[in-house]
């Protein structure tokens, strides 16, 4: 089993509940069978609207033809007997277990890079350089070293790390996210997780888009090995309340998120301090091993917004292709948490949007910079095993300094940890004994 989770706080083994799998029958037949066999009452799936039902109550998941029930020993016996009964649609009764991703070995890095004009040192930034998208990578991926500079490799893709994106949801039907979303939940009454705005799908793509997107040649996701936890805390029209955001944070922590990415916020006046509730939520998250990164805000030369202005939330500024602060990116005018902590690409960012809106598109904003940092944090968490406050410190420590004030960009550009690759990097040929060739009797060298 994988033990990537911080301090073993994720429980292991059986939960005490049973998972019952049915043959292809309709919902009524399946639920009737449960009632007849074991006197168990199950509602239909309320998973999208009521997270508690999926976690505690007896539920029947229609799409899967699976029931999850809390059964007494005699009920379990009756259910188990039904498995052997050919007349019963019950196929299997198995214990529910706590699950989390297996650790995966990061794929070997691609040898050929198409960015031969990128910087030649992986710990320096050339201020004169201007990044641009290529056919195969977005400029943001190159800037944060998700596409490594030459003479380096980026072996960390965030495998086994869970990134929660609290936003307008996600296009669950987008082929780029097939198998990547391990949990999703809407906190907007009457609206499913499905992203009707496009902001959430764009942000999730930047953080964790796939290594080889099926619909485009251009890779745009930083931590392509990580998994997504998607909380819809903003409506399809882009509005939300701090209450919905808090509920989303609590849920993301419960889901075991290692990084929580929040490309959202509200403006804050000069001299205004942070909200106690956001700070308390961020502290609870850090204590649980979840790092919250949030957008600094797009009000220009104005204070970092809320919740990014909480001392325990990592505030992210946006950079343009020349690694200059984007003119809209908010700055540290208020102390006590109101500082900018780190910066990342946030201008002309190419990422996924809902298929109904064209599948891919460009957006600009500190909202786009934030998931770049979430992705970098995931790779660092994977590489170092650090969580929470320690991960924050490592992220800031490894950021590349920029020739700009900390008020504008904090510690500088967030980057994926890379390994130096020697110029003479070659594949060693293993030695193995060859056939022993007997040269036969040797002619003595003639002596002249």
């Amino acid at each position: 089993m994988n033990t990537d989770s911080a301090g073993g706080r994720v429980p292991e083994g059986p939960t005490g509940r049973q998972i019952i799998t049915f043959a292809p029958v309709d919902d009524a037949t399946a639920t009737r069978e449960l009632r007849d066999v074991a006197d168990l009452d199950v509602g239909t799936s309320r998973g999208l609207d009521d997270p508690a039902a999926a976690a505690t109550g007896n539920v029947y998941l229609e799409e899967l033809r699976i029931a999850i029930v809390d059964s007494a020993p005699d009920q379990l016996g009756a259910l188990s007997r039904a498995v052997g009964d050919s007349a019963s649609p019950i196929l299997a009764v198995e214990p529910e277990v706590y699950v989390y991703p297996f650790g995966a070995i990061d794929a070997p890095p691609a040898v050929a890079q198409d960015d031969s004009d990128a910087e030649t040192e992986d710990d320096e930034v050339d201020a004169a350089e201007t990044y641009a998208d290529t056919d195969t990578y977005t400029w943001g991926l190159k800037a944060v070293h998700a596409v490594p500079p030459i003479l380096a490799t980026a072996p960390w893709a965030g495998a086994g790390i869970r990134i929660a994106v609290l936003d307008t949801g996600i296009d669950l039907g987008h082929p780029d996210f097939a198998g990547r979303v391990i949990a999703s939940q809407s906190f907007i009454p009457g609206q499913p997780v499905q992203d009707g705005h496009s902001h959430g799908t764009h942000c999730a793509g930047t953080a964790a888009g796939p290594k080889s997107p099926p619909g485009t040649q251009r890779r745009y996701g930083v931590a392509h090995g990580s998994r997504l936890i998607v909380g819809k805390v903003l409506s399809d029209s882009g509005s939300g309340t701090s209450g919905q955001i808090l509920a989303g944070i609590e849920w993301a922590i419960q889901q075991g998120a290692h990084v929580i990415s929040m490309s959202l916020g509200s403006a804050v006046a000069v001299g205004q301090t942070y909200y106690t509730y956001y700070e308390q939520a961020a502290t609870a998250a850090l204590n649980a091993g979840s790092l919250i990164v949030a957008a600094a805000g797009n009000s220009g030369w104005a204070p970092v917004g809320a919740p990014a202005n909480s001392p325990s939330v990592l505030a992210v500024a946006a950079l343009d292709q020349a690694l200059q602060r984007a003119p809209f990116s908010c700055v540290g005018l208020n102390g006590n948490g109101g500082e900018v902590n780190i910066a990342a690409p946030g201008v002309a960012t190419y990422s996924s949007v809902p298929v109904s809106k064209g599948s891919y598109g460009f957006k600009s904003g500190t909202s786009m910079a934030t998931p770049h940092v979430a992705g970098v944090a995931a790779t660092l968490a994977r590489k170092t095993g650090l969580r929470g406050r320690a991960l924050w410190q490592e992220l800031v420590r490894t950021a590349l300094p920029l020739p700009l004030s900390a008020q504008e960009v904090g510690a500088g550009l967030a980057v994926v940890p890379t390994r130096r690759r020697p110029i003479w990097d070659y594949r060693p040929i293993p030695w193995r004994p060859g056939p022993i060739i007997d040269p036969g009797p040797l002619e003595p060298n003639p002596i002249p």
Binding site: H197, G238, G243, E250, Y275, Y277, N298, F328, V353
Partner: protein
Amino acid sequence: MSEPDAPGGRRVHVTVTGRGVDDALADLRDAGLEVDEALRGLGIVTGRAAPDAVERMRGLPGVTVEPEDQVQLPPPDAPVQ
């Protein structure tokens, strides 16, 4: 923004420090908070409270009362998100 004249008062978030949410819940209800949700993992209670109830809650130990905040993203095609 939040509706100050809504029935039950305006929407507030109550941050509880130094004790558990469940411990504080009865006191908050007594003070006049209409509880929406108790976020036990965070130590925060969301709900509605009239101005006099807010004043009463502020007198409780380890309790911070703040108004709910609103977030609004620009439309999907706005130049800056």
